[in-house]
């Protein structure tokens, strides 16, 4: 069985991708690379994941300390190869705790993944600002030293630390890096170019140690859920299989969001 670990910091978009993926597998489009070979007997988990995504609601954060394993029996259309894929949904906070040397949930997960699907939502460009805005205001802030916490670590650095530590914990062979909320980036660049411009250190790290990484942009939610959104258009696009999309490493847009998974399990 191919085992793929989906990882990322909190709010990176892991669960949203799983929801969109499960819907697409359930409702395949023509050009789709991976499809269900057999639907699981019990599809309640898939339905539970899909439901808020279908209703255009923000997905609940995955609960800490819990590993929800999604077992998928898939078939690749190109060569008819059948494979079982195990995708666990683990809270981003559990991944963050790895950086604090507390990773009970991750350690308790018995499966050893062959591959890592790593999501990055925000790649901030402004780091180490001269002003110190993240301490409390008021007198106490002027006389008392704040504690250094994980929140004070630049997100690009947190991502590097997390990938390194997951590498140490699990001997995965392949990595795909998904830059989420791609629809908000307004970028015409290839995903690897975007990453290089927005967070050169993270890009350097990946290029140096994982030069074959599959770096892609992904918009799993498809829309910003706000008052301006056209609910019916979103529903129509969902039914057409054109709500979620990826930008592949060559910069080509595809509605087949199974492509990164296909790369990882090949």
């Amino acid at each position: 069985m191919a085992k793929c670990l989906i990882a990322g910091l909190p709010s990176a978009g892991k669960t949203t991708y799983i929801a969109a993926l499960s819907y697409l597998l359930h409702n395949p489009i023509d050009e789709q690379m991976l499809r269900f070979n057999n639907l699981p007997d019990d599809i309640s988990l898939i339905n539970r994941l899909q439901q808020p995504w279908l209703e255009q609601k923000i997905l609940d954060r995955t609960s800490r300390g819990k590993v929800t394993d999604l077992q998928l029996n898939l078939k690749r259309i190109s060569d008819k190869k059948v494979m079982n894929v195990n995708i666990p949904d683990i809270a981003g906070e559990d991944f963050t705790s790895i950086l604090e040397k507390q990773c009970k949930t991750i350690n308790s997960w018995n499966e050893k993944p062959d591959s890592l699907l790593f999501f990055i939502k925000k790649v901030p460009t402004l780091v180490l600002t001269e002003s110190f805005n993240d301490i409390e205001d008021g007198h106490s802030a002027k006389t008392k030293a704040p504690n250094f916490t994980i929140q004070h670590i630049y997100e690009g650095t947190q991502n590097v630390l997390l990938i390194k530590e997951l590498r140490r914990l699990f001997p995965w062979k392949r990595i795909a890096i998904g830059l989420t909320s791609w629809d908000l980036h307004n970028s015409e660049e290839k995903p690897c170019e975007y990453l290089r411009n927005e967070c050169p250190f993270l890009s350097n790290f990946i290029n140096q140690y994982f030069p074959e990484a599959y770096i892609f942009g992904v918009s799993a939610q498809g829309w910003e859920y706000d008052e301006k959104m056209d609910i019916d258009e979103c529903m129509n696009k969902t039914m057409e299989g054109k709500r979620s999309y990826i930008i592949d490493p060559n910069g080509k847009k595809s509605y087949d969001i199974t492509l990164p998974l296909d790369y990882l399990i090949s």
């Binding site: 002027k142 250094f148 590498r167 250190f201 140096q208 140690y209």
Partner: protein, 302 residues
């Protein structure tokens, strides 16, 4: 697919079969996070390198700007992705660097906090690494950022510095001179402190011909009028000969910069670039025979 990390990791595991961590996440055992600065010189044994890394020692007393200097170097590496032709691709001590960045911001925003409180935060390990790549090949440069208190200890106790393996293997020593102290009543104390420290370093044979010595005059931005400039030049004329005579060299490189000003960091960038492109021409010296040179031992064992 075998990544470069596998190849590098395999080399280290040949040497340390029981090692549980890859070399790029060398652990500081007493730390809260992974990727802290390293507190033990022998942890360098776990670093991935087939040659001696280039070692830069930041020397200076409390408040002279060493931590700001490292934090600014890290900032440049993060935002520019490297320096010159070298890309910043990893560090074993990312959290150690982040802590210094935090401290730098903290100092800037909280001028009224007693320095003793700041130093409490500062209770930090001193070894910091930068992995740099050029055309795919990788090298490591190491900074040692001891606290000012450590250097005061080295100045006051002759034998203390002999236990510092890293400083004895320095390729470059940056002596920080705090310009505000140079210009006020702290000047004589600074001169005396440096006399004591340099003498102890000299007797520990730290100044070897290959070791590059630089005097770094920090916080140059406070000099903004002719009178201050004149006073500054006078004080330099007193201080520099002290370094020359004790170290025993005729010419000594001097650099003027402001270590915590990102917007005016051209001089700092030039220095950082020079450090990045420098390679160690020295071999390890280990007076305590503490098994520091694992690479040499590893090669011999093959």
């Amino acid at each position: 697919m075998e990544s470069n990390l596998d190849l590098l990791q395999n080399n280290v595991e040949k040497h340390r079969e029981t090692a549980a961590v890859p070399q790029t996440t060398v652990q500081n055992d007493n730390s809260v996070f992974i990727g802290e600065a390293l507190n033990d010189d022998e942890k360098l044994n776990l670093l991935m390198t087939d040659t001696k890394p280039y070692i830069t020692i930041l020397v200076g007393f409390e408040g002279y700007g060493k931590t700001s200097f490292v934090a600014t170097c890290y900032h440049i590496m993060l935002t520019d992705g490297g320096i010159g032709e070298y890309k910043f691709c990893d560090s074993d001590t990312l959290v150690g660097l982040e802590r210094r960045s935090f401290l730098r911001r903290f100092n800037a925003a909280m001028e009224s906090v007693p320095s003793s409180t700041k130093r409490t935060i500062r209770g930090e390990a001193h070894l910091l690494t930068f992995h740099l790549s050029k055309d795919g090949s990788e090298k490591i440069t190491i900074f040692s950022d001891h606290s000012g208190e450590d250097y005061r200890k080295y100045a006051n106790h002759k034998d203390e510095i002999k236990n510092d393996v890293l400083i004895q293997n320095a390729d470059r020593i940056l002596f920080f001179v705090d310009i505000p102290s140079l210009l006020d009543t702290k000047f004589l104390r600074m001169v005396q402190d440096y006399k004591n420290l340099l003498s102890n370093m000299k007797s520990a044979d730290i100044f070897r011909p290959q070791t590059k010595i630089t005097l770094l005059f920090n916080k140059i931005d406070i000099i903004n009028d002719d009178a201050t400039k004149e006073r500054y030049e006078e004080k330099k004329k007193v201080l520099i000969p002290v370094f020359r005579s004790i170290i025993g060299i005729n010419e000594i490189e001097t650099i003027e910069l402001t270590s915590n000003n990102i917007d005016k960091s051209d001089d700092l960038k030039s220095l950082l670039q020079d450090i990045a492109q420098s390679n160690s021409i020295q071999t390890w010296i280990d007076n305590n025979e503490s098994d520091l040179d694992w690479v040499k031992k590893f090669i011999k064992e093959q």
